[in-house]
Amino acid sequence: MTLDVGSLRDQALAAIDAAADLRALDEVRVSYLGKKGAVTGLLKQLGGMDPDSRKEAGRRINELKDRLEAALGERKAGLQAAALEARLQAERIDVTLPAREEQVGRIHPVSQVTDEIIAIFADMGFAVAEGPDVEDDFHNFEALNLPKEHPARQMHDTFYLEAEQNGAPLLLRTHTSPVQIRTMLAGKPPFRIIAPGRTYRVDSDMTHTPMFHQVEGLLIDRRTHMGHLKGCLIDFVRSYFESDRIPVRFRPSYFPFTEPSAEMDIGCKRSQGELVVGEGSDWLEILGCGMVHPKVLRAVNLDPDEWQGFAFGMGIDRVAMLKYGIPDLRTFFEADLRWLKHYGFMPLDVPTLAGGLSR
């Protein structure tokens, strides 16, 4: 008996080549290598052979089988690649279409700038203190050496509540300074605090709103003097405005709760209605400060011969406007979505000294 292995091989290889897809290929596989396939049929004939022939025929059939399996595998891979290619072509989409909309909100400049201020003063060891918006006369005025007749206490500056407390007027704090008083009354010196918060004055025009934000600073210990006051605020201003060259100036001034008192100016340039901070020959006032008045220290039961230090108060909205070029204070409180998107900050822009206060 002769095995026509050669023609079977040629026939099978031709069939494999001709298989148009994976299913046809599998049919070819079954028809040759399946249980009833032609090659399997050849193997069945081996039983009737003599040992020598059987050995020889077995070898040839196995060769054929290997050959066909290799061809099948190769063809399968080719067909798979072609199928994938066809699928990819079919699945093509226009990726220039707009992405699924995601909304990212913004952090208000007041919050952002407050966080910046906290980051800087925290590095200088200042904690963040807080106090109530509704205040009494003692904390807002009296303890701060603002005598009863001080103009700031008159109706045209201070919001008063209709309600009273034990016959004494209640008011909306006109500055964050009462937090100084509450802090010093509640704790023991030394103190290093800043107190950001809402403040209120009966005032409304381009540059004044009935509510605004201030940050108070207070440092009380046994040795802090005006040199430290200057150093601290210069360090702050240079860090906040992110410029080591920003010109600063301290001028004598007057506040009832400090003595000596000063106002701090920074250098700026005004040209064509634009204000550029940090250069030029003009000056811009940014805060009031001074050495805490001995009467204030006495009001919180500290001996002014033993304890001393400085305090300052700065407008948060104002320094936000200066740093970020926001022209109109009133717009801060209008919650205009266009304004918030433009002037607001990305939620992950958390100001740190290590990573930079702003981008």
Binding site: L97, R100, E101, Q103, V104, G105, R106, I107, H108, S111, D115, I118, D123, M124, G125, V128, P132, D133, V134, E149, F159, Y160, L161, E162, A163, L172, R192, R198, V202, S204, M211, L219, T224, H225, M226, G227, H228, K230, G231, C232, R249, F250, R251, P252, S253, Y254, P260, S261, H293, P294, Q308, F333, E334, A335, L337, L340, K341, G344, P347, L348
Partner: protein, 799 residues
């Protein structure tokens, strides 16, 4: 406070120019707000004389002049009709800019005749409207005299912001004193020597205050002057007053204004012939009236200090004089009043009547009691000089109060508070120049405070005086010493979580707003304020009450943004809400909302409006960020009544309410004019469980089961009133050990479900810690779950 440089130089012998004076003033704490110099534009303009007038050969209306200047004779073509030989006028030369036109002159030839300058009119110099011809200078000023001098221009005007405690610097003399002490020049004094009486005319005055009220006017000095002529004041005085913004009226009035600014010594002059009887000082009775010099009739309150004659009130002490006894051009006899009025009463009277006079500004800050008598002499001298007449004797009611305080000053305080050391000579000379008496030293001084410095009372005040003369610029800055090598955490957990909530809310797409702490009272009531916290003096009726909730302000912002064309968006705010009219009765609140369309129209999915579950996701995420354990929270349906009663809820931990959320009540929206749906939430940050302090920072081991999880779906048919929450709770309770996750994937009503019922489809993920669940175990668990849900809610499994 305004003054001019020439005026200052009458009190200060100095050659300093206006810039260096201004710089020094600011360094001293007298902040310069502005400098204007009307004469600056005329630098180089000078007096020239016409020596020859000829008609222009080519133009009838022009003249060809020969003009004598300090540098020789020039040829000038001029169109004015008033040219004549010998006329002296102001010449502008090539290079000069004509103030009125801004044109720079050049050497020109006008129709063939060279012109080397321009003779100017008043209008061309920006000094008036007169354009009839060129300026015709009277009095033959020397050729070459600068225009500023020849025209009598007052000179640079300096505007100062004087801080309220520096009463003395509301007079030019006080400002000069500060400058002299800072080394800018030598202080000069006015002539305060007594003016001998030329008549014995007197006007009787009487202080008639109720006992205890004598402080209203401790000293009242008068002088009767007869035979004055009250015409216009001289040019120099008019010029000076005009320069600082005052209108010249008549010599007598101008003199009082002059002394108000020159010495911070307000005066009053009565027309003696209009007075009836004696002058009496007393407290006003309520309802008395005064027709004031300010053109208004004032109704007085009881207790205001008034000056009266027999006709009634003739002047409101230190605030405003009366019309009925004022001086006019016919005045011949006057009573000069130089007094000391109580600052507090003056301030109170002025404030209550709404009168902001220059006199009030000075009296309420406190004037120099020791200047009353010298001021009387100087005023008398000026009146006699400018108006003629004979002065009677000085009449004094009351006496000069003792106001020169003393204090002990330790020199060490300078270094202690200011961080500088100042030479003894510098310190003593400076203080003495400011008028302080300085005795003792070098470590301890006995300081006498000058009578005009009511603001100085402590050693710290003396430190300020020394430091500002020394210059704040010369205080070396010192960084504050660090507390630790690595700076410590400063935010409290509560402060930290406010920041976390803010940033998460923004990350979720909400815009942070900062809105007023106020709102209309009606809204405050609608949003939960049983007793609204009202302001006595709101700036506007819409800002009349403190907010009990932030939401109304955010809703108002929604309205504004809708009006701007927005169809959807989100806002939030973290800030105070006010609970009661008492310090501290406020809470840190976080409120947020989403309105209208959740997303813009897009090709991916249909547009939909925001719904309760959008906002519920927000509030749960924010509560989680704030540290609340949301897994164990419950939802109740008793949100406040500004929410839709059927579409709102509260997040609770047992009895404690963490937050409210839901759709804003349609009636509230209608009231606010909002036509889009609004979903909102609010919660108090302070009342959330406090972030707990932990001993360590370790997170504990991960307990992840290595065994497979299986998911089983159930569809429960329940009555419409059964909450899904009840089903979920029953599922979890049925198999606490095995149930990992439960998710609701469908709520169905309609075909196949009988009316009044709903089908809730739930996927339950089961997993054991210690074994692979067998089919048997899964089946048992499923049965238990169904039984538990059935028992709790009456549910049946949907077939």
């Amino acid at each position: 406070m305004k003054l001019t440089l020439p005026w200052l130089k009458e009190h200060l012998d100095t050659k300093a120019d206006v810039e260096s004076v201004a710089k020094k003033l600011t360094d001293l704490g007298l902040e310069v707000e502005g400098i204007t110099d009307p004469g600056a534009a005329l630098a180089g303009f000078q007096v020239a004389e016409i020596v020859e007038v000829a008609r222009h050969p080519q133009a009838d209306r022009l003249s060809a002049l020969k003009v004598r200047t300090a540098d020789g004779v020039l040829s000038v073509v001029c169109g004015a009709q008033n040219v004549r030989q010998g006329l002296r006028s102001i010449l502008a030369r090539p290079g000069h800019v004509v103030p009125a036109t801004g044109v720079t002159l050049t050497k020109a030839e006008i129709r063939g005749v060279p012109s080397e300058g321009m003779m100017c009119s008043w209008r061309e110099l920006g000094l008036g409207e007169d354009h009839e011809g060129i300026i015709d200078l009277a009095g033959e000023p020397e050729v070459g005299t600068p225009a500023v001098a020849a025209l009598g221009i007052e000179g640079p005007v300096i505007e100062l912001k004087v801080t309220p405690e520096r009463a003395d610097c509301f007079g030019v003399n006080g400002i000069a004193r500060d400058l002299a002490a800072a080394g800018v020049g030598r202080l000069k004094s006015r002539d305060f020597s007594p003016v001998a009486p030329g008549t014995d005319a007197v006007t009787r005055t009487r202080l008639a205050f109720a006992p205890g009220n004598e402080g209203a006017c401790p000293l009242f000095v008068t002088r009767t002057i007869k035979g004055v002529r009250n015409g216009p004041s001289p040019d120099w005085l008019q010029r000076r007053l005009t320069a600082i913004g005052l209108r010249p009226i008549s010599a007598l009035v101008d003199i009082t204004n002059y002394l108000t600014f020159d010495l911070s010594r307000p005066l009053h002059v009565f027309d003696r012939n209009k007075l009836q009887g004696d002058l009496v000082l007393r407290e006003a009775q309520g309802g008395e009236t005064l027709a004031g010099l300010d053109g208004r009739t004032h109704t007085l309150s009881a207790g205001m200090t008034v000056i009266c004659d027999d006709s009634g009130v003739v002047s409101l002490a230190g605030v405003v004089g009366g019309e009925s006894t004022s001086c006019d051009e016919g005045t011949t006899d006057v009573v000069l009043e130089v007094a000391l009025f109580d600052p507090l009463r003056t301030a109170e009277t002025g404030r209550r009547l709404g009168i902001d006079s220059d006199a009030r500004a000075r009296f309420e800050r406190g004037i120099d009691p020791e200047l009353v008598l010298p001021g009387t002499e100087f005023a008398t001298r000026l009146i006699l000089e400018l108006c003629g007449g004979r002065a009677g004797p000085v009449e004094i009611a009351g006496k000069v109060p003792e106001t020169r305080g003393r204090l002990t000053f330790h020199t060490a305080q300078i270094e202690r508070l200011a961080g500088i050391t100042v030479e003894r000579e510098e310190m003593e000379a400076g203080l003495e120049a400011l008028g302080f008496g300085v005795d003792g030293g070098p470590d301890l001084y006995e300081i006498t405070i000058p009578s005009w410095r009511h603001d100085v009372s402590t050693e710290a005040c003396i430190v300020e005086e020394v430091a500002r003369l020394h210059g704040y610029d010369h205080i070396p800055p010192v960084s504050v010493p660090r507390m630790a090598a690595v700076s410590a955490q400063v935010l409290t957990p509560e402060q930290r979580r406010r920041s976390d909530v803010r940033r998460l809310a923004a990350a979720r797409g909400l815009m942070e707003a900062v809105t007023w702490s106020f709102m209309p009272e009606g809204l405050a009531v609608r949003f939960g304020a049983a007793q609204p916290i009202r302001l006595q003096n709101p700036i506007h009726a819409d800002l009349s009450a403190l907010r009990p909730s932030i939401l109304p302000n955010l809703l108002a912002a929604v309205r504004r943004n809708v009006d701007r064309g927005f169809r959807g968006g989100g806002l939030f705010e973290v800030g105070p809400r006010f609970i009661a009219a008492e310090p501290g009765r406020q809470a840190w609140n976080c409120a947020g909302l989403r309105f209208g369309e959740l997303r813009q129209r897009n090709w991916l999915e249909p547009v939909r409006n925001v719904d309760v579950f959008d906002i519920k996701a927000d509030v749960l995420a924010l509560l989680t960020a704030a540290g609340a354990k949301i897994d164990t929270a419950q939802i109740s349906t008793d949100a406040p009544d500004w929410f839709h009663p059927g579409r709102s809820g509260r997040v609770r931990l047992g009895p404690q309410v963490l937050a409210s959320f839901g759709e804003i009540h349609p009636a509230v929206l209608a009231e606010l004019g909002i036509e889009l749906p609004v979903m909102a939430f609010e919660f108090d940050l302070d009342s959330l469980p406090k972030p707990r302090a932990r001993a360590g920072r370790g997170k504990g081991a991960l307990q992840a089961s290595p065994f497979p999880a299986v998911e089983r779906d159930f569809a429960f048919l329940v009555e419409e009133g059964v909450t899904v929450d009840a089903i979920l709770k029953a599922i979890r309770q049925a198999e606490k050990q095995l149930v990992r996750e439960v998710s609701v994937f469908d709520v169905y009503r309609g075909q196949g479900v009988e009316p009044g019922k709903k089908s809730v489809a739930v996927a339950v993920r089961l997993q054991a810690h210690d074994r692979t669940l067998t089919e048997q175990a899964i089946e048992t668990a499923s049965q238990r779950i169904v039984a538990s849900v059935t028992k709790a809610t009456g549910a049946s499994l949907r077939g």
